[in-house]
């Protein structure tokens, strides 16, 4: 009888743990930003570089405002907010994005005598936008595979 009770408790506990993992995965899936979000952020970040190369820095504040609005809209739309910003995201931003941001501005400025200011600005912004979008895809894939494996 005691063994039966223990077995029943163990089975119930197992079921409860499965439910917990399933709900955690659902929460992580809900918190994963959609593809349009990556595209929008990439385009806006690319625009920041384009404006910097085109020497129109006074307009950058509008783009930064746009980035803020997109982030707020996405968080309101998804209906969930992650507990903490993943440390990996912070590391990627600091190690890859910042040098890349300044790097594409410098490359864009170096290309100005060859391509002309407008094309060089678009080139710099385009390269940075593609890089940001690719990073967002990698981050999204990692996020989804983690939640699928239940390592939330």
């Amino acid at each position: 009888m005691t063994n039966e009770k223990h077995s029943a408790a163990s089975s119930e506990a197992h079921k409860a743990l499965d439910t917990i993992q399933q709900m955690k995965r659902s929460a992580m899936r809900r918190a994963t930003p959609p593809r349009w979000f990556g595209v929008a952020i990439a385009l806006l970040m690319g625009t920041l570089v384009t404006l910097a190369v085109a020497d129109m820095r006074q307009l950058q504040v509008l783009v930064i405002l746009g980035i803020g609005l997109v982030i707020v809209y996405q968080s309101q739309k998804s209906g969930v907010a992650l507990k903490t910003l993943p440390i990996k995201l912070v590391v990627i931003t600091l190690i890859l994005l910042l040098p890349m941001y300044f790097g594409t501005i410098v490359v864009g400025q170096l290309m100005t005598p060859v391509l002309g200011q407008t094309l060089a600005a678009i080139f710099g912004g385009g390269v940075f936008a593609i890089a940001v979008y690719l990073l967002s895809l990698i981050e999204r894939r990692l996020h989804l595979s983690k939640s699928a494996a239940g390592k939330s």
Binding site: S10, A13, T19, M23, A27, R30, A81
Partner: protein, 94 residues
């Protein structure tokens, strides 16, 4: 062998789902929780109230475009209780 030490407030199926969903999040909107649990507003409200009475969750109201939205989040006490509950479940499973 010691008897299972379930946290009765958390262990009820719907409340367990609520806590598990909120655990990796900072907060979640009431409607999202309702859709995930596939329950009615009143059932979800009842369970949230019970968790709130135990001090495990709190609610926050915000207005977006004139529409009121309710956000639910686990308190520090709730996170600890949920963590302890999982440990207990793992101990039982062995």
């Amino acid at each position: 062998m010691s008897p299972p030490l379930f946290d009765a407030v958390i262990h009820a199926p719907n409340r367990l789902q609520i806590c598990a969903f909120l655990a990796p999040l900072q907060e979640a909107e009431f409607q999202i929780l309702r859709d995930e649990l596939d329950v009615s507003d009143s059932v979800l409200s009842k369970h949230i109230k019970q968790l709130e009475n135990a001090g495990y969750v709190k609610q926050r109201k915000s207005t977006v475009n004139g529409r009121q939205r309710t956000w639910v989040y686990l308190t520090g006490e709730g996170r600890q209780a949920f963590k302890d509950h999982i440990e207990e479940l793992k101990r039982i499973v062995g």
